[in-house]
Amino acid sequence: MKDMDRAQIPGEATEYTQTYADGTQRRVFVTGVETPYPHGKLIVSRTDTAGIITECNQSFVDMSGYTEAEIIGQPHCLLRHPDMPAAAFRDLWETVKAGRQWNGYVKNLRKDGGHYWVYATVVPNVRNGNIVGYTSVRREPSRENVASAEEQYRSLS
């Protein structure tokens, strides 16, 4: 994955270097600006078994700030925010690879360094008994549950 481009981040931003499960690293910039979740919508995407995005809906595009062409073919950790503990994603992958459904509150990183909170559910796509990919559906969380998740993730980071 390419590093984020500082020139595309408006205003003040903090720089982080993220290290992913496969050992690769990416430089990201975080502004602290939150984009409110659009009422009534679902953000939907699919990945292959390696977590590479194969499909996403317009709400995914709108909220992430990337174009669809910039999203398809990228690993899902494109949206990983440095405030999210690695343990949450480890748990997610262990759960869905075992064929089970995962739910949790996730702070996603936008292309412009801002973020948005979602309540995410990830399910394995089982076809003829085999997992062929994963579908993730995000919906609007309550502010109360976001506040609890923030506190929990701070203690894990």
């Binding site: 659009p38 009422h39 009534g40 459904q101 559910t121 990830v122 969380p141 309550s142 109360e144």
Partner: protein, 248 residues
């Protein structure tokens, strides 16, 4: 052998005759005796499905999941456009302006429609409202849901967009939409049961070509659609995966 066709009870009452006309058209096109049974409740229809009394069905997305995954039905077509969306409405003079303004104890009027109720519950989550801190008032019809709000018996109500739009302007004047779902990903589908799998391709071709004749177009318009669009197995599997994320 008589084939049994049914339609999800979520369609407006004024379309009952149009579904009978559709059934007559389908019987003639397939040269097959087809009995149309319209159930007046979701529960009665589910019981008929469980008893194996359904061979063809225009199903809501939630029943489609059950029929495909557990009963061996095959999805073949859906109306073009027209994803299933719903609204949460309140009385025009209710103090809540948006969902997060709603408080624990909110009285929710809803029908038995599993799709509308599931999506409605999801849209209440931003207010931290669930079945444990709201009062649910079940009503038999969508119009009764609207009436429950107008009479002050309920704070909010769940309605399909189509049912809300079909309300009279007098009723709509007394209601206000708090949120409209924009899911875009779930929709009714036409399914063929195991007894007709051999003819599934033929039925799919008939439906997807229905708009090409004047008569077919007329029936489709009466049912509120323009044309049928082919549905592939993976399309419906994907929809079922999405529904499974909404029902936990």
């Amino acid at each position: 052998m008589t084939i049994n066709l049914t339609v999800s009870p979520s369609f407006p009452n004024e379309r009952i005759t149009d579904w009978y006309i559709f059934n007559t058209w389908l019987q003639r096109a397939l040269n097959l005796p087809i009995h149309l049974e319209l159930y007046d409740s979701f529960g009665a229809q589910r019981a008929a499905i469980a008893a194996g009394k359904v061979d063809l069905i225009y199903a809501n997305p939630f029943d489609a999941s059950l029929l495909v995954r557990e009963k061996g039905f095959q999805a073949i077509a859906r109306p073009e456009g027209q994803p299933d969306e719903m609204v949460i409405v309140t009385a025009a003079d209710h103090p809540a302006n948006e969902i997060p303004d709603l408080k624990p104890g909110t009285r929710v009027a809803c029908s038995e429609d599993p799709c509308v109720n599931t999506v409605g519950r999801i849209l209440l989550e931003p207010a931290n409202l669930g079945t444990d801190n709201t009062v649910e008032l079940r009503r038999e019809t969508y119009i009764q849901v609207a009436r429950a709000i107008m009479r002050g018996e309920a704070d909010v109500g769940f309605l399909p967009v189509e049912a809300f739009e079909a309300l009279s302007s007098l009723v709509k004047r007394d209601l206000r939409i708090l949120v409209t779902s924009q899911l875009h990903v779930i929709h009714h589908v036409f399914l063929v049961g195991p007894a007709l799998h051999e003819r599934a391709e033929e039925i799919a071709a008939l439906l997807t070509g229905m708009h090409e004749t004047e008569k077919g177009r007329g029936i489709l318009e009466a049912l509120g659609a323009h044309r049928w669009q082919a549905v592939h197995q993976e399309d419906v599997e994907f929809m079922i995966d999405i529904i499974s994320t909404l029902t936990q």
